[in-house]
Symmetry: none
Subunit: 255 residues, 2 copies
DNA sequence: TCGAATCTTCATCAAATCTTTATATCGGCG
DNA sequence: CGCCGATATAAAGATTTGATGAAGATTCGA
Protein backbone atom coordinates (compact mmCIF):
# COMPACT_ATOMS: atom_id res chain seq x y z
CA UNK A 1 0.00 0.00 0.00
CA UNK A 2 1.27 3.40 -0.90
CA UNK A 3 0.59 5.01 2.39
CA UNK A 4 3.01 2.83 4.25
CA UNK A 5 5.77 4.33 2.21
CA UNK A 6 4.74 7.84 3.12
CA UNK A 7 4.32 7.10 6.74
CA UNK A 8 6.13 6.55 9.95
CA UNK A 9 9.14 4.45 9.03
CA UNK A 10 10.19 6.14 5.89
CA UNK A 11 13.96 6.39 5.57
CA UNK A 12 15.06 9.93 6.12
CA UNK A 13 17.60 10.10 3.37
CA UNK A 14 15.57 8.74 0.51
CA UNK A 15 14.00 11.54 -1.51
CA UNK A 16 10.21 11.73 -1.49
CA UNK A 17 8.46 11.40 -4.80
CA UNK A 18 5.59 13.67 -5.67
CA UNK A 19 3.03 13.26 -8.41
CA UNK A 20 1.96 16.56 -9.95
CA UNK A 21 -1.23 16.55 -12.00
CA UNK A 22 -2.58 19.44 -14.06
CA UNK A 23 -3.68 19.79 -17.65
CA UNK A 24 -1.82 23.07 -17.90
CA UNK A 25 1.77 22.09 -18.71
CA UNK A 26 3.13 25.44 -17.68
CA UNK A 27 1.82 24.93 -14.19
CA UNK A 28 3.21 21.42 -13.99
CA UNK A 29 6.61 22.63 -15.11
CA UNK A 30 6.70 25.49 -12.67
CA UNK A 31 5.58 23.42 -9.75
CA UNK A 32 8.02 20.64 -10.62
CA UNK A 33 10.83 23.11 -10.71
CA UNK A 34 10.14 24.35 -7.22
CA UNK A 35 9.58 20.89 -5.81
CA UNK A 36 12.77 19.53 -7.34
CA UNK A 37 14.59 22.51 -5.96
CA UNK A 38 13.32 21.49 -2.55
CA UNK A 39 14.73 18.00 -2.95
CA UNK A 40 11.73 16.03 -4.12
CA UNK A 41 11.50 13.61 -7.03
CA UNK A 42 8.70 14.67 -9.33
CA UNK A 43 6.42 12.61 -11.57
CA UNK A 44 3.97 14.36 -13.86
CA UNK A 45 0.57 13.64 -15.34
CA UNK A 46 -1.72 15.75 -17.49
CA UNK A 47 -5.08 14.06 -17.23
CA UNK A 48 -7.05 12.06 -14.77
CA UNK A 49 -6.58 8.63 -16.26
CA UNK A 50 -2.83 9.02 -16.41
CA UNK A 51 -2.86 10.39 -12.87
CA UNK A 52 -4.69 7.40 -11.51
CA UNK A 53 -2.37 4.98 -13.30
CA UNK A 54 0.75 6.65 -12.00
CA UNK A 55 -0.67 6.96 -8.51
CA UNK A 56 -1.16 3.22 -8.45
CA UNK A 57 2.06 2.13 -10.18
CA UNK A 58 4.63 4.70 -9.10
CA UNK A 59 3.35 4.93 -5.56
CA UNK A 60 4.26 8.56 -4.93
CA UNK A 61 4.55 9.93 -1.41
CA UNK A 62 2.18 12.79 -2.14
CA UNK A 63 -0.04 13.98 -4.96
CA UNK A 64 -0.68 17.54 -6.08
CA UNK A 65 -3.92 17.23 -7.95
CA UNK A 66 -5.86 19.73 -10.03
CA UNK A 67 -9.56 19.66 -9.37
CA UNK A 68 -10.59 20.06 -13.01
CA UNK A 69 -8.99 17.64 -15.41
CA UNK A 70 -9.83 16.36 -18.87
CA UNK A 71 -11.07 12.83 -18.99
CA UNK A 72 -11.26 12.03 -15.34
CA UNK A 73 -11.98 14.82 -12.86
CA UNK A 74 -9.54 15.37 -10.03
CA UNK A 75 -12.28 14.62 -7.60
CA UNK A 76 -12.82 11.28 -9.31
CA UNK A 77 -9.17 10.43 -9.07
CA UNK A 78 -9.18 11.29 -5.42
CA UNK A 79 -12.29 9.29 -4.75
CA UNK A 80 -10.97 6.31 -6.72
CA UNK A 81 -7.79 6.26 -4.66
CA UNK A 82 -9.61 6.58 -1.38
CA UNK A 83 -12.01 3.86 -2.41
CA UNK A 84 -9.03 1.56 -2.72
CA UNK A 85 -7.96 2.53 0.77
CA UNK A 86 -4.91 4.26 -0.60
CA UNK A 87 -4.11 6.95 1.89
CA UNK A 88 -1.44 8.88 0.04
CA UNK A 89 -1.75 12.55 0.99
CA UNK A 90 -3.38 14.72 -1.64
CA UNK A 91 -3.21 18.47 -2.07
CA UNK A 92 -5.96 19.82 -4.27
CA UNK A 93 -5.53 22.67 -6.72
CA UNK A 94 -8.80 24.50 -7.10
CA UNK A 95 -9.13 26.90 -9.99
CA UNK A 96 -11.71 29.13 -8.48
CA UNK A 97 -11.76 29.92 -4.86
CA UNK A 98 -15.43 29.34 -4.36
CA UNK A 99 -16.12 27.88 -0.99
CA UNK A 100 -17.96 25.08 -2.67
CA UNK A 101 -14.82 23.90 -4.41
CA UNK A 102 -12.72 24.07 -1.27
CA UNK A 103 -15.26 22.12 0.68
CA UNK A 104 -15.68 19.56 -2.06
CA UNK A 105 -11.94 18.96 -2.06
CA UNK A 106 -11.74 18.39 1.65
CA UNK A 107 -14.86 16.29 1.72
CA UNK A 108 -13.66 13.73 -0.78
CA UNK A 109 -10.55 13.12 1.21
CA UNK A 110 -7.96 15.68 0.22
CA UNK A 111 -5.52 16.61 2.96
CA UNK A 112 -5.19 20.20 1.99
CA UNK A 113 -6.05 22.54 -0.84
CA UNK A 114 -4.65 25.64 -2.42
CA UNK A 115 -6.46 27.99 -4.76
CA UNK A 116 -5.19 29.28 -8.07
CA UNK A 117 -3.48 31.53 -8.59
CA UNK A 118 -1.02 30.38 -5.96
CA UNK A 119 2.61 31.04 -5.27
CA UNK A 120 4.79 27.99 -5.89
CA UNK A 121 6.52 28.84 -2.68
CA UNK A 122 3.30 28.39 -0.75
CA UNK A 123 2.64 25.10 -2.45
CA UNK A 124 6.03 23.80 -1.45
CA UNK A 125 5.38 24.94 2.09
CA UNK A 126 2.12 23.04 2.16
CA UNK A 127 3.75 19.92 0.77
CA UNK A 128 6.32 20.09 3.50
CA UNK A 129 3.66 20.65 6.12
CA UNK A 130 1.54 17.71 5.04
CA UNK A 131 4.51 15.36 4.95
CA UNK A 132 5.75 16.56 8.30
CA UNK A 133 2.34 15.93 9.79
CA UNK A 134 2.38 12.39 8.55
CA UNK A 135 5.87 11.77 9.87
CA UNK A 136 4.91 12.82 13.33
CA UNK A 137 1.67 10.98 13.06
CA UNK A 138 0.13 12.85 15.93
CA UNK A 139 -1.79 10.98 18.57
CA UNK A 140 -4.59 9.39 16.61
CA UNK A 141 -6.93 12.28 16.22
CA UNK A 142 -9.89 12.43 13.94
CA UNK A 143 -8.82 14.41 10.95
CA UNK A 144 -12.32 15.59 10.22
CA UNK A 145 -15.04 16.06 12.79
CA UNK A 146 -18.44 16.02 11.19
CA UNK A 147 -21.73 17.06 12.68
CA UNK A 148 -24.96 18.36 11.32
CA UNK A 149 -24.21 21.71 9.68
CA UNK A 150 -20.68 21.67 11.03
CA UNK A 151 -17.38 20.31 9.84
CA UNK A 152 -13.99 20.74 11.46
CA UNK A 153 -10.90 20.00 9.41
CA UNK A 154 -8.06 19.77 11.83
CA UNK A 155 -5.37 19.51 9.16
CA UNK A 156 -6.21 23.01 8.04
CA UNK A 157 -7.69 24.23 11.29
CA UNK A 158 -10.77 25.15 9.35
CA UNK A 159 -14.34 25.24 10.55
CA UNK A 160 -17.28 25.18 8.20
CA UNK A 161 -20.78 25.97 9.34
CA UNK A 162 -23.56 25.39 6.88
CA UNK A 163 -20.96 24.97 4.14
CA UNK A 164 -19.47 28.35 4.81
CA UNK A 165 -16.01 28.94 6.16
CA UNK A 166 -15.87 30.54 9.59
CA UNK A 167 -12.89 32.70 10.40
CA UNK A 168 -11.83 31.82 13.92
CA UNK A 169 -8.97 33.04 16.06
CA UNK A 170 -6.54 30.43 17.37
CA UNK A 171 -8.17 30.42 20.78
CA UNK A 172 -11.65 30.09 19.40
CA UNK A 173 -10.58 27.21 17.19
CA UNK A 174 -8.89 25.36 20.01
CA UNK A 175 -11.90 25.80 22.27
CA UNK A 176 -14.24 24.45 19.66
CA UNK A 177 -12.01 21.57 18.65
CA UNK A 178 -11.47 20.53 22.24
CA UNK A 179 -15.13 20.49 23.07
CA UNK A 180 -16.19 18.94 19.77
CA UNK A 181 -13.96 15.98 20.45
CA UNK A 182 -16.27 14.99 23.28
CA UNK A 183 -19.73 16.09 22.31
CA UNK A 184 -22.04 16.39 25.26
CA UNK A 185 -19.34 16.42 27.87
CA UNK A 186 -19.46 19.38 30.18
CA UNK A 187 -16.22 21.33 30.44
CA UNK A 188 -15.72 23.65 33.38
CA UNK A 189 -14.04 26.95 32.71
CA UNK A 190 -11.00 25.67 34.52
CA UNK A 191 -10.93 22.56 32.34
CA UNK A 192 -11.03 24.70 29.25
CA UNK A 193 -8.38 27.10 30.48
CA UNK A 194 -6.01 24.33 31.45
CA UNK A 195 -6.32 22.57 28.15
CA UNK A 196 -6.49 25.56 25.84
CA UNK A 197 -4.12 27.98 27.55
CA UNK A 198 -2.00 25.60 29.59
CA UNK A 199 -1.55 24.89 33.25
CA UNK A 200 0.41 28.04 33.94
CA UNK A 201 -2.29 30.44 32.77
CA UNK A 202 -2.58 33.38 35.10
CA UNK A 203 -5.75 35.09 33.98
CA UNK A 204 -9.34 35.01 35.12
CA UNK A 205 -11.58 32.12 34.20
CA UNK A 206 -14.19 34.59 33.00
CA UNK A 207 -12.08 35.06 29.92
CA UNK A 208 -13.57 31.83 28.66
CA UNK A 209 -17.00 33.43 28.57
CA UNK A 210 -15.82 36.03 26.13
CA UNK A 211 -14.21 33.53 23.81
CA UNK A 212 -17.30 31.36 23.89
CA UNK A 213 -19.43 34.36 23.08
CA UNK A 214 -17.26 35.30 20.13
CA UNK A 215 -17.27 31.73 18.95
CA UNK A 216 -21.04 31.59 19.14
CA UNK A 217 -21.43 34.85 17.31
CA UNK A 218 -19.21 33.74 14.44
CA UNK A 219 -20.80 30.33 14.12
CA UNK A 220 -24.36 31.46 14.46
CA UNK A 221 -23.81 34.07 11.83
CA UNK A 222 -23.85 31.15 9.43
CA UNK A 223 -26.59 29.24 11.17
CA UNK A 224 -28.76 31.42 13.35
CA UNK A 225 -31.08 28.73 14.60
CA UNK A 226 -28.46 26.36 15.91
CA UNK A 227 -26.58 26.72 19.15
CA UNK A 228 -23.46 24.59 19.08
CA UNK A 229 -22.07 25.51 22.45
CA UNK A 230 -24.53 25.27 25.29
CA UNK A 231 -24.13 26.84 28.69
CA UNK A 232 -24.44 24.53 31.67
CA UNK A 233 -25.26 26.98 34.42
CA UNK A 234 -22.95 26.82 37.36
CA UNK A 235 -20.42 24.55 35.69
CA UNK A 236 -19.34 25.50 32.25
CA UNK A 237 -20.06 24.74 28.65
CA UNK A 238 -20.57 21.80 26.39
CA UNK A 239 -20.68 21.16 22.69
CA UNK A 240 -23.86 19.68 21.31
CA UNK A 241 -23.12 17.40 18.39
CA UNK A 242 -26.53 15.94 17.79
CA UNK A 243 -28.88 18.11 15.79
CA UNK A 244 -32.09 16.80 17.27
CA UNK A 245 -31.13 16.62 20.88
CA UNK A 246 -34.13 17.83 22.82
CA UNK A 247 -33.17 19.97 25.78
CA UNK A 248 -36.50 20.86 27.24
CA UNK A 249 -38.21 19.27 30.16
CA UNK A 250 -41.61 19.40 28.62
CA UNK A 251 -43.80 16.39 28.92
CA UNK A 252 -43.17 14.65 25.68
CA UNK A 253 -42.10 11.10 25.03
CA UNK A 254 -38.71 10.07 23.78
CA UNK A 255 -38.55 7.07 21.59
CA UNK B 1 -7.67 34.21 40.52
CA UNK B 2 -10.16 31.67 39.45
CA UNK B 3 -13.56 32.17 40.92
CA UNK B 4 -14.87 28.73 41.55
CA UNK B 5 -16.99 28.46 44.61
CA UNK B 6 -15.22 26.29 47.14
CA UNK B 7 -16.88 22.95 47.33
CA UNK B 8 -18.12 22.77 43.78
CA UNK B 9 -15.05 20.79 42.93
CA UNK B 10 -15.42 18.33 45.72
CA UNK B 11 -15.33 14.86 44.30
CA UNK B 12 -18.50 12.91 44.79
CA UNK B 13 -16.63 9.76 45.50
CA UNK B 14 -13.76 9.48 47.89
CA UNK B 15 -11.56 12.55 48.24
CA UNK B 16 -7.97 12.06 47.12
CA UNK B 17 -5.24 12.42 49.68
CA UNK B 18 -2.04 14.23 48.83
CA UNK B 19 1.25 14.19 50.67
CA UNK B 20 3.05 17.53 50.58
CA UNK B 21 6.75 17.52 51.45
CA UNK B 22 8.97 20.57 51.87
CA UNK B 23 11.29 21.72 54.61
CA UNK B 24 9.88 25.24 54.28
CA UNK B 25 6.75 25.21 56.40
CA UNK B 26 5.38 28.30 54.73
CA UNK B 27 5.35 26.55 51.41
CA UNK B 28 3.69 23.48 52.85
CA UNK B 29 1.00 25.59 54.47
CA UNK B 30 0.29 27.58 51.36
CA UNK B 31 0.15 24.57 49.11
CA UNK B 32 -2.04 22.68 51.58
CA UNK B 33 -4.46 25.55 51.67
CA UNK B 34 -4.90 25.55 47.94
CA UNK B 35 -5.14 21.78 47.69
CA UNK B 36 -7.74 21.59 50.45
CA UNK B 37 -9.70 24.29 48.77
CA UNK B 38 -9.78 22.09 45.70
CA UNK B 39 -11.22 19.23 47.70
CA UNK B 40 -8.15 17.16 48.51
CA UNK B 41 -7.14 15.71 51.84
CA UNK B 42 -3.63 16.86 52.68
CA UNK B 43 -0.90 15.19 54.69
CA UNK B 44 2.33 17.04 55.41
CA UNK B 45 5.96 16.13 55.95
CA UNK B 46 9.00 18.32 56.45
CA UNK B 47 11.93 16.00 55.80
CA UNK B 48 12.75 13.04 53.67
CA UNK B 49 12.58 10.36 56.34
CA UNK B 50 9.12 11.49 57.45
CA UNK B 51 8.04 11.71 53.85
CA UNK B 52 9.04 8.15 53.11
CA UNK B 53 7.30 6.87 56.23
CA UNK B 54 4.08 8.66 55.44
CA UNK B 55 4.20 7.65 51.81
CA UNK B 56 4.34 4.02 52.91
CA UNK B 57 1.84 4.13 55.76
CA UNK B 58 -0.73 6.71 54.67
CA UNK B 59 -0.72 5.62 51.03
CA UNK B 60 -1.52 8.99 49.52
CA UNK B 61 -2.90 9.27 46.01
CA UNK B 62 -0.18 11.70 44.99
CA UNK B 63 2.98 13.23 46.43
CA UNK B 64 4.26 16.77 46.01
CA UNK B 65 7.93 16.42 46.80
CA UNK B 66 10.67 19.00 47.19
CA UNK B 67 13.89 18.02 45.50
CA UNK B 68 16.16 19.25 48.27
CA UNK B 69 15.32 18.03 51.71
CA UNK B 70 17.22 17.72 54.98
CA UNK B 71 18.19 14.20 55.89
CA UNK B 72 16.96 12.34 52.89
CA UNK B 73 16.97 14.05 49.50
CA UNK B 74 13.73 14.19 47.55
CA UNK B 75 15.37 12.20 44.83
CA UNK B 76 16.21 9.51 47.35
CA UNK B 77 12.65 9.35 48.56
CA UNK B 78 11.43 9.06 45.03
CA UNK B 79 13.93 6.38 44.18
CA UNK B 80 13.17 4.46 47.35
CA UNK B 81 9.48 4.40 46.56
CA UNK B 82 10.00 3.33 42.98
CA UNK B 83 12.41 0.63 44.12
CA UNK B 84 9.55 -0.80 46.16
CA UNK B 85 7.37 -0.70 43.07
CA UNK B 86 5.17 1.93 44.62
CA UNK B 87 3.70 3.78 41.70
CA UNK B 88 2.09 6.72 43.42
CA UNK B 89 2.38 9.77 41.15
CA UNK B 90 4.99 12.30 42.25
CA UNK B 91 5.29 15.96 41.37
CA UNK B 92 8.75 17.36 42.02
CA UNK B 93 9.46 20.83 43.33
CA UNK B 94 12.80 21.97 41.98
CA UNK B 95 14.44 25.07 43.34
CA UNK B 96 16.40 25.90 40.26
CA UNK B 97 15.19 25.40 36.76
CA UNK B 98 18.31 24.01 35.21
CA UNK B 99 17.58 21.46 32.58
CA UNK B 100 19.68 19.08 34.59
CA UNK B 101 17.36 19.20 37.56
CA UNK B 102 14.28 18.76 35.45
CA UNK B 103 15.72 15.75 33.75
CA UNK B 104 16.97 14.28 36.96
CA UNK B 105 13.52 14.58 38.47
CA UNK B 106 11.80 12.88 35.59
CA UNK B 107 14.54 10.31 35.28
CA UNK B 108 14.16 8.98 38.76
CA UNK B 109 10.47 8.49 38.24
CA UNK B 110 8.65 11.72 38.94
CA UNK B 111 5.50 12.27 36.89
CA UNK B 112 5.82 16.01 36.63
CA UNK B 113 7.87 18.82 38.08
CA UNK B 114 7.42 22.50 38.77
CA UNK B 115 10.16 25.01 39.45
CA UNK B 116 10.25 27.45 42.33
CA UNK B 117 9.02 30.04 42.56
CA UNK B 118 5.70 28.66 41.40
CA UNK B 119 2.10 29.80 41.64
CA UNK B 120 0.05 27.58 43.95
CA UNK B 121 -2.66 27.61 41.36
CA UNK B 122 -0.38 26.12 38.79
CA UNK B 123 0.61 23.40 41.21
CA UNK B 124 -3.02 22.54 41.85
CA UNK B 125 -3.59 22.48 38.12
CA UNK B 126 -0.70 20.08 37.67
CA UNK B 127 -1.99 17.86 40.44
CA UNK B 128 -5.33 17.72 38.72
CA UNK B 129 -3.71 17.04 35.39
CA UNK B 130 -1.58 14.18 36.69
CA UNK B 131 -4.50 12.56 38.45
CA UNK B 132 -6.68 13.01 35.41
CA UNK B 133 -4.05 11.41 33.22
CA UNK B 134 -3.96 8.41 35.53
CA UNK B 135 -7.73 8.17 35.74
CA UNK B 136 -7.77 7.97 32.02
CA UNK B 137 -5.83 4.75 32.17
CA UNK B 138 -8.06 3.18 34.78
CA UNK B 139 -11.54 1.99 33.97
CA UNK B 140 -13.48 5.21 34.29
CA UNK B 141 -15.58 5.67 37.37
CA UNK B 142 -19.28 5.16 37.01
CA UNK B 143 -20.14 7.38 34.13
CA UNK B 144 -23.81 6.62 34.35
CA UNK B 145 -25.76 5.92 37.49
CA UNK B 146 -28.74 3.82 36.59
CA UNK B 147 -31.82 3.12 38.67
CA UNK B 148 -35.38 2.28 37.89
CA UNK B 149 -36.84 5.27 36.05
CA UNK B 150 -33.72 7.33 36.77
CA UNK B 151 -30.45 7.87 34.99
CA UNK B 152 -27.68 10.25 35.94
CA UNK B 153 -25.06 11.03 33.29
CA UNK B 154 -22.24 12.59 35.21
CA UNK B 155 -20.08 13.79 32.35
CA UNK B 156 -23.08 15.52 30.82
CA UNK B 157 -24.50 16.54 34.18
CA UNK B 158 -27.85 15.34 33.00
CA UNK B 159 -30.60 13.66 34.96
CA UNK B 160 -33.33 11.71 33.24
CA UNK B 161 -36.46 10.60 35.05
CA UNK B 162 -38.78 8.33 33.16
CA UNK B 163 -36.86 9.07 29.96
CA UNK B 164 -37.40 12.77 30.33
CA UNK B 165 -34.70 15.29 31.00
CA UNK B 166 -34.96 17.11 34.31
CA UNK B 167 -33.62 20.62 34.46
CA UNK B 168 -31.75 20.94 37.75
CA UNK B 169 -29.82 23.79 39.31
CA UNK B 170 -26.21 23.15 40.23
CA UNK B 171 -27.05 22.60 43.88
CA UNK B 172 -29.89 20.25 43.13
CA UNK B 173 -27.74 18.23 40.78
CA UNK B 174 -24.94 17.95 43.28
CA UNK B 175 -27.28 16.90 46.06
CA UNK B 176 -28.80 14.18 43.95
CA UNK B 177 -25.50 12.93 42.57
CA UNK B 178 -23.98 12.80 46.01
CA UNK B 179 -26.81 10.83 47.54
CA UNK B 180 -27.29 8.58 44.54
CA UNK B 181 -23.71 7.43 44.84
CA UNK B 182 -24.65 5.70 48.06
CA UNK B 183 -28.24 4.59 47.76
CA UNK B 184 -29.85 3.89 51.10
CA UNK B 185 -27.29 5.78 53.14
CA UNK B 186 -28.72 8.46 55.37
CA UNK B 187 -27.13 11.88 55.00
CA UNK B 188 -27.58 14.41 57.75
CA UNK B 189 -28.16 17.99 56.74
CA UNK B 190 -24.70 18.82 57.93
CA UNK B 191 -23.21 16.03 55.82
CA UNK B 192 -24.95 17.37 52.79
CA UNK B 193 -23.97 20.95 53.43
CA UNK B 194 -20.34 20.11 53.95
CA UNK B 195 -20.05 18.11 50.79
CA UNK B 196 -22.22 20.20 48.55
CA UNK B 197 -21.36 23.68 49.73
CA UNK B 198 -18.02 23.13 51.41
CA UNK B 199 -16.81 23.34 54.94
CA UNK B 200 -16.92 27.10 55.04
CA UNK B 201 -20.65 27.36 54.46
CA UNK B 202 -22.24 30.01 56.65
CA UNK B 203 -25.95 29.47 56.16
CA UNK B 204 -28.61 27.54 58.02
CA UNK B 205 -28.99 23.80 57.60
CA UNK B 206 -32.66 24.33 56.86
CA UNK B 207 -31.61 25.45 53.43
CA UNK B 208 -31.15 21.81 52.57
CA UNK B 209 -34.86 21.22 53.07
CA UNK B 210 -35.68 23.72 50.40
CA UNK B 211 -33.30 22.23 47.89
CA UNK B 212 -34.58 18.74 48.58
CA UNK B 213 -38.11 19.96 48.08
CA UNK B 214 -37.27 21.58 44.77
CA UNK B 215 -35.44 18.45 43.71
CA UNK B 216 -38.42 16.30 44.59
CA UNK B 217 -40.84 18.57 42.80
CA UNK B 218 -38.80 18.51 39.59
CA UNK B 219 -38.25 14.77 39.64
CA UNK B 220 -41.77 13.82 40.63
CA UNK B 221 -43.15 15.98 37.88
CA UNK B 222 -41.87 13.25 35.60
CA UNK B 223 -42.82 10.36 37.86
CA UNK B 224 -45.51 11.25 40.39
CA UNK B 225 -45.70 7.89 42.11
CA UNK B 226 -42.06 7.54 42.94
CA UNK B 227 -40.23 9.25 45.78
CA UNK B 228 -36.51 9.19 45.16
CA UNK B 229 -35.41 11.11 48.20
CA UNK B 230 -36.89 9.94 51.46
CA UNK B 231 -36.98 11.85 54.70
CA UNK B 232 -35.51 10.14 57.73
CA UNK B 233 -37.07 12.11 60.57
CA UNK B 234 -34.54 13.38 63.04
CA UNK B 235 -31.59 12.40 60.87
CA UNK B 236 -31.77 13.72 57.36
CA UNK B 237 -32.41 12.29 53.95
CA UNK B 238 -31.56 9.26 51.95
CA UNK B 239 -31.78 8.29 48.32
CA UNK B 240 -33.74 5.18 47.41
CA UNK B 241 -32.72 3.57 44.17
CA UNK B 242 -33.97 0.26 42.98
CA UNK B 243 -31.66 -1.31 40.45
CA UNK B 244 -33.03 -0.96 37.00
CA UNK B 245 -35.60 -3.36 35.63
CA UNK B 246 -35.05 -5.44 32.55
CA UNK B 247 -35.02 -3.26 29.48
CA UNK B 248 -35.14 -5.35 26.36
CA UNK B 249 -35.94 -2.75 23.77
CA UNK B 250 -35.19 0.93 23.69
CA UNK B 251 -37.93 1.72 21.25
CA UNK B 252 -40.94 1.62 23.48
CA UNK B 253 -42.87 4.53 24.84
CA UNK B 254 -43.68 4.90 28.46
CA UNK B 255 -47.20 5.92 29.22
C1' DT C 1 8.71 50.44 15.19
C1' DC C 2 4.05 50.57 13.89
C1' DG C 3 -0.55 48.74 13.18
C1' DA C 4 -3.84 45.10 13.06
C1' DA C 5 -5.45 41.19 15.20
C1' DT C 6 -6.12 39.07 19.25
C1' DC C 7 -6.59 38.52 24.08
C1' DT C 8 -7.87 40.13 28.71
C1' DT C 9 -10.24 42.75 31.86
C1' DC C 10 -13.96 45.39 33.42
C1' DA C 11 -18.76 47.34 33.99
C1' DT C 12 -23.44 46.54 33.45
C1' DC C 13 -27.80 44.28 33.11
C1' DA C 14 -31.03 40.54 33.20
C1' DA C 15 -31.93 36.13 34.66
C1' DA C 16 -31.19 32.27 37.45
C1' DT C 17 -30.28 30.67 41.79
C1' DC C 18 -29.89 30.60 46.73
C1' DT C 19 -31.25 31.86 51.42
C1' DT C 20 -34.22 33.28 54.71
C1' DT C 21 -38.54 33.77 56.75
C1' DA C 22 -43.21 32.78 57.70
C1' DT C 23 -46.77 29.64 57.68
C1' DA C 24 -48.75 25.03 56.94
C1' DT C 25 -48.65 20.16 57.63
C1' DC C 26 -47.64 15.85 59.71
C1' DG C 27 -47.04 12.25 63.22
C1' DG C 28 -46.64 10.83 67.82
C1' DC C 29 -48.30 11.11 72.36
C1' DG C 30 -50.60 12.40 76.66
C1' DC D 1 -58.32 16.44 70.86
C1' DG D 2 -54.58 19.65 71.24
C1' DC D 3 -49.66 20.09 71.94
C1' DC D 4 -45.05 19.48 70.37
C1' DG D 5 -41.09 18.90 67.49
C1' DA D 6 -39.89 18.22 63.01
C1' DT D 7 -40.51 18.76 58.18
C1' DA D 8 -42.90 20.76 53.93
C1' DT D 9 -44.10 24.58 51.35
C1' DA D 10 -44.55 29.13 49.41
C1' DA D 11 -42.97 33.49 48.74
C1' DA D 12 -39.91 37.46 49.20
C1' DG D 13 -35.49 39.29 49.17
C1' DA D 14 -30.45 38.77 48.52
C1' DT D 15 -26.85 36.98 45.97
C1' DT D 16 -24.60 34.92 42.15
C1' DT D 17 -24.05 33.97 37.51
C1' DG D 18 -23.71 34.59 32.58
C1' DA D 19 -24.20 37.58 28.37
C1' DT D 20 -22.60 41.40 26.34
C1' DG D 21 -20.27 45.65 24.82
C1' DA D 22 -16.29 48.22 25.16
C1' DA D 23 -11.80 49.70 26.64
C1' DG D 24 -7.10 48.65 27.53
C1' DA D 25 -3.12 45.37 26.99
C1' DT D 26 -0.60 42.23 24.45
C1' DT D 27 1.15 39.79 20.56
C1' DC D 28 2.67 39.20 16.02
C1' DG D 29 4.06 40.22 11.54
C1' DA D 30 5.40 43.63 8.14
Amino acid sequence: MISSKAGYNYPVNKPRSILVVDDDKKIVTLVSLYLKNDGYQVICAYDGRQALDLALTAEPDLIVLDLMLPGLEGTEVCRALRARLIKVPIIMLTARSTEDDKLRGLDIGADDYITKPFSPRELVARVRAVLRRLDHLEPPQAEVLTFAHLKIYSSRREVWVNNRLVNLTPTEYRLLELMAHEPGKVFSRVDLIERVFGLDYQGLDRTVDVHVMNLRRKMEQNHPTRRFIVTVPGHGYRFEGEPEHEVSNENHHIS
